[in-house]
């Protein structure tokens, strides 16, 4: 029997990583870049988009090739595919959004080593059909992006009083003595923010808490 494109099972691949199977807060993957590029929303958003594109397309390609890939060199094949996609994304960013690409600097290149991508290829794409793999890639990319943008939003809002580079806290607040929290701009606060997000998520979804 042919499964419909958006069957409940396929939709779960898309929605799972957004909440109960989130790559950052549950699987604790890709933390490095989540800490580094979340000072402002715009670079975080571009990073999230880049990772989503790379996970989705690499999942798709590997899934299409899965029956031909010699198992002894499968990690190398996966890396070649990921590296090629990341270089393409990097080149496109340099050509079209140069300023953001400068802010992301090495972190675009480091998508190659982002555990989410390799993890999804090994765990999912190597054994599943192309379409579910593609959805799984999109889902995980978005799940990563969701947390990234959320952290970036909180850090930019409290750290610089801006969102997407636009000032949102009115000048009058500053005249009344409000100060931006400079601590939010520093890397440790990203870790603490992610910690708080994990805490909130676990207290809302009791099933995530370890029994022991």
């Amino acid at each position: 029997m042919k499964e419909s494109i958006f069957s409940p099972k396929n939709l779960k691949l898309l929605s799972g990583p957004l909440n109960l199977n989130n790559p950052i807060t549950i699987q604790v993957l890709g933390i490095c870049s989540a800490l580094a590029v979340t000072v402002q929303v715009k670079p975080a958003f571009v990073m999230a988009l880049s990772v989503t594109i790379v996970t989705a397309i690499s999942n798709l390609i590997i899934s299409l090739l899965r029956n031909t890939i010699p198992s002894r060199i499968r990690i190398i094949v996966q890396l070649v595919v990921i590296a090629a996609l990341v270089i393409i994304v990097d080149q496109v960013l340099k050509a079209y959004i140069y300023d953001v690409s400068k802010k992301l600097s090495v972190f675009v290149g480091l998508i190659i080593t982002n555990c989410i991508i390799m993890g999804r290829l090994e765990a999912f794409a190597m054994s599943q059909k192309p379409w579910p793999s593609f959805l799984d890639g999109i889902g995980n990319g978005l799940g990563y992006g969701l947390i990234l943008v959320l952290v970036a939003f909180l850090r930019e809002f409290f750290g610089s009083g801006k969102v997407f580079g636009f000032q949102v806290i009115p000048d009058i607040f500053y005249q009344w003595g409000y100060e931006n929290n400079g601590l939010m701009i520093l890397p440790p606060m990203a870790l603490i923010t992610i910690g708080v997000i994990i805490w909130v998520q676990r207290s809302r979804s009791r099933e995530l808490i370890d029994k022991s």
């Binding site: 031909t68 890939i69 010699p70 198992s71 002894r72 060199i73 190398i76 094949v77 070649v80 595919v81 090629a84 270089i87 393409i88 080149q91 496109v92 340099k94 050509a95 079209y96 140069y98 300023d99 600097s105 090495v106 520093l186 890397p187």
Partner: protein, 232 residues
């Protein structure tokens, strides 16, 4: 289990396909990327004379403010037929000082004054640092500076490209009262009153000494040219 033969052929084809795809992308996007770098250079030069240009109006603003440019050598003689904008500062930096092409950009400010803009290039902690320094019409007082870097430590050395650090250079002087070249040094401590020293950034000693050294090394080469201008 696949045979070795299969693995070799498989990986060869894969690599060739990937290499071709990457080549096509790189060649296609190169003109756009080079244009971005050109525009950024214009923005940097304009920023050193306190003109903020966006990506879209950089070209227009550049032709408005930068009225001419020329290239000299270390003995202040002009080198003809070289486009100052196209001189690759990083490549020039590797040559011996006598062979270097030294670009000078002439800016016409809003108040009618002329300002000269000089590129500088040196090394920080992790990689190259570079920038532009503009002088007021007395050929001595700093009008403004702009710095950038390849990969200095974020939050420490990387702060050299922020406004609050660059502002410290405004109004400092390159020559002392006797007309001796002193450059503007970047040193620890508070030096607001010293006309030849600016405060360094805490925690980025090597980057700041790099900037300091870069200014000496590069502006030294312009010394004969500036001295000739000063005498006049």
């Amino acid at each position: 289990m696949h045979s070795n033969r299969y693995i070799f052929i498989y990986s060869s084809i894969l690599v060739i396909v990937v290499a071709m795809a990457l080549t096509v992308v790189a060649v296609q996007l190169k003109p756009l990327q080079e244009n971005n770098i050109r525009i950024e250079k214009m923005q940097n030069i304009l920023s050193s004379i306190h003109v903020k240009a966006t990506v879209n109006n950089a070209e227009e603003m550049y032709s408005k403010y930068i009225v001419s440019s020329f290239v000299i050598n270390a003995s202040a003689n002009e080198i003809k037929d070289v486009d100052a904008f196209k001189v690759n500062i990083a490549a020039e930096h590797k040559k011996s000082t006598d062979d270097r092409k030294l670009p000078v950009f002439v800016a016409k400010l809003d108040n009618g004054d002329t300002s000269l803009v000089f590129p500088v290039y040196g090394k920080g902690l992790w990689g190259p640092v570079w920038g532009y320094i503009s002088l007021q019409k007395d050929f001595n007082t700093v009008l403004g500076v702009v710095f950038d870097h390849k990969g200095e430590t974020p939050g420490l050395g990387a702060e050299i490209n922020t406004e609050w650090f660059q502002e410290r250079f405004n109004g400092k002087t390159l020559f002392n009262e006797d007309g001796k070249f002193t450059s503007v040094q970047v040193l620890k401590g508070t030096h607001n009153d010293d006309p030849h020293v600016v405060d360094a950034i805490s925690g980025s000693t090597i980057t700041c000494s790099g900037v300091s050294l870069m200014l000496v090394d590069c502006m030294e080469l312009y010394e004969p040219f500036l001295k000739a201008k000063l005498k006049r």
